[in-house]
Point group: C2
Chain length 128, copies 2
DNA sequence: ATGATAGTGATAATGATTATCATTCGTAAC
DNA sequence: GTTACGAATGATAATCATTATCACTATCAT
C-alpha cells in the first residue's frame, strides 16, 4: 500500500537522471530548482519509501544517508576522505567470501556494506 | 600533545576490561556506577582522543559510534538486525582483495569498514 | 610565581532525521 | 455524484548523537 505519488515520482526522476549519490537536502534543492518544490519531510519519506520498494538504493555514510539509482548491478564504494568523491567497484569474490563467513557462523545474511576510505587518484596526485 | 589524563585513563580502563562495543552513553553510565562520574562532553572528547592515539578502536554504525579494545587483531563485524548483537570475524583474503581493488584504481587506501547485516544464529533459530 | 597549553564540565548549538497533526488526495463503496 | 477511509503531504516541533562555547582548572616548563 505504498503509493507512487507525483512527489515520489519527481524524486525518482531526479535520482534516475544521474549517477550521483544524493542526500535528502540535495534532492529537495534540485526539486526546488525545477519549480517542483516538495516539503522536506515528504522528501525524507519519499526516499525511504522508494528505497523500501527497491526503486532506489541507499548507502549509509557516517553522517547521513545517500541514495542512488537502482538500475545498476550491485557494487560497493570507495570514498575519498579529502574531496568526498564516491567511486564504485564490484568484486564478486569479496561477496562470496562474505557469504562464506556468514555460513560458517550460521548467520543469516541480509545485506552488507563495504566502504573503502582513502585518497582518490586525483587527490593523491595533489598530495605532492 | 594529547594527554592521557585521569579521566581518559578511566575511560580506557572501562573499555579494556571487556569485549563490548561501547557507545559514549554506556561509557558515561559505567563510570557513574563506579563513582568516577565524568562530564558527557569529556567522555566524547576522551573517546575521540583515545581512538586517535590508537588506544581504542572505533566502528561507525548507522546511528552512532562504538568503541572497543584495540589489543585484538583487525576484524570486521556481523550485526544482528534483530537483537543488535555484534560478532567479529577476520578474513584476510577479503582485505587482500580490497587492496587489489584500490590498487587497480590508484586509490590510496587508508581504512575500510565492512559490516554484514542479518540474523545471528540465536535469532535465526527463534524465527521458526 | 608566571605563562603557555591542554583538559574539564555544564550547557547551548548543530544537523540529520523522525514525529505530530491538521489538511488533502485517491479510490472504492454506496 | 457523494461518502468514507487509508495514505500522503507539508509545516513545524521534537529527538538524539555529537560538537561548540566558555569559564575555569590542572600540568608543566621557564
Ligand atoms: Mn553507488
Ligand atoms: Mn569488534
Ligand atoms: Zn579525492
Ligand atoms: Zn540476534
Amino acid at each position: 500500500m505504498q503509493k507512487l505519488t507525483a512527489q515520489r515520482q519527481a524524486i525518482l526522476d531526479i535520482i534516475n537522471r544521474s549517477d550521483k549519490h544524493w542526500d535528502a537536502d540535495e534532492v529537495a534543492f534540485a526539486l526546488k530548482e525545477k519549480g517542483t518544490g516538495i516539503g522536506i519531510a515528504t522528501v525524507y519519506r519519499g526516499l525511504a519509501a522508494l528505497a523500501e520498494q527497491g526503486l532506489i538504493e541507499s548507502i549509509q555514510l557516517a553522517d547521513k544517508k545517500r541514495y542512488e539509482r537502482a538500475d545498476k548491478k550491485h557494487h560497493d564504494h570507495l570514498i575519498c576522505t579529502l574531496c568526498g568523491s564516491i567511486e564504485e567497484f564490484c568484486k564478486p569474490e569479496i561477496e562470496k567470501l562474505q557469504d562464506l563467513v556468514a555460513a560458517e557462523r550460521e548467520f543469516h545474511i541480509q545485506g552488507h556494506q563495504l566502504l573503502l576510505f582513502g585518497l582518490c587518484a586525483g587527490c593523491k596526485a595533489k598530495e605532492s
